[in-house]
């Protein structure tokens, strides 16, 4: 089994941290609204795990795909996306049918919120700009 790339690991940790933070906020809102129960918590955990796993699998696929030629990389990514969409469908369906629908669906969108905040926390979690690019800029200056 190939090792997970540092970039993929760093971004997955970033996404997981945001998912945990947003999950805690959502559970607090449930608690304040008087809607909290164990099903809401279980649905949240299930969907959050699916969202983070989806991101990790996407990262691993990208890591493997960039070493292949263009055609293989595109088809590999399409296949991976189908599989991951099915996984998320299964997680959300279980959550909607047996657990809390709201707490099962919302965490699937938490990684998108995390990506939206990515530029603001870039310095903390590693810059979006490549180190080589930054060093090139310095040498130009």
């Amino acid at each position: 089994m190939s090792k997970i790339d540092d970039t993929v690991r760093r971004e997955t940790v970033y996404i997981a941290a945001w998912v945990i933070i947003l999950s805690v906020i959502m559970q607090a809102v449930f608690l304040i609204a008087g809607q909290w129960n164990i099903k809401a918590l279980a649905g949240n955990i299930l969907s959050s795990a699916a969202a983070v796993l989806n991101f990790l699998l996407m990262g691993i696929t990208i890591q493997k795909a960039v070493d292949k030629d263009q055609k293989d990389a595109a088809s590999m990514m399409k296949f991976s996306q189908s599989g991951r969409l099915f996984m998320q469908f299964a997680a959300a369906a279980v959550g909607v049918l047996f657990l809390n629908p709201v707490s099962s669906i919302l965490p699937l969108f938490f990684p998108r919120i995390a990506v939206a905040f990515r530029p603001f926390v870039g310095k903390k979690f590693g810059n979006l700009l490549p180190e080589t690019e930054a060093s090139n800029d310095e040498t130009v200056e």
């Binding site: 996407m58 960039v66 595109a74 399409k78 969409l85 959300a92 909607v96 979006l128």
Partner: protein, 96 residues
């Protein structure tokens, strides 16, 4: 009554299937993004880390579109039929 319920269930299933057409787009988009990234890394191998990071974020954004469709499909499959059948039953009982 059975026919009306059947039509509701059929339309919900059809709607869910149609909603998932939107799931095709992210797959194609991610595929072409990764293909372009392969080309970019081939040209400048030293930018691999930066390209991967940017692509990860881009793919996560692209995938949200598919998730919207997924949520609509799940709601149409598992939540909407029950609600619609309840509305139909109440309407029919009110009418007599």
């Amino acid at each position: 009554m059975e026919l009306a319920i059947g039509i509701i269930l059929g339309c919900c299933a059809l709607g869910a299937g149609m909603a998932m057409i939107a799931g095709i787009g992210p797959g194609i988009g991610e595929g072409s993004a990764v293909a372009s990234a392969c080309e970019a890394i081939g040209r400048q191998p030293e930018c691999r880390s930066a390209v991967t990071t940017t692509m990860l974020m881009g793919c996560a954004v692209a995938e949200t579109t598919g998730l919207y469709a997924l949520v609509i499909a799940i709601l149409l499959l598992f939540v909407a039929p029950g609600r619609f059948v309840n509305i139909l039953t109440e309407t029919m009982s009110n009418l007599g």
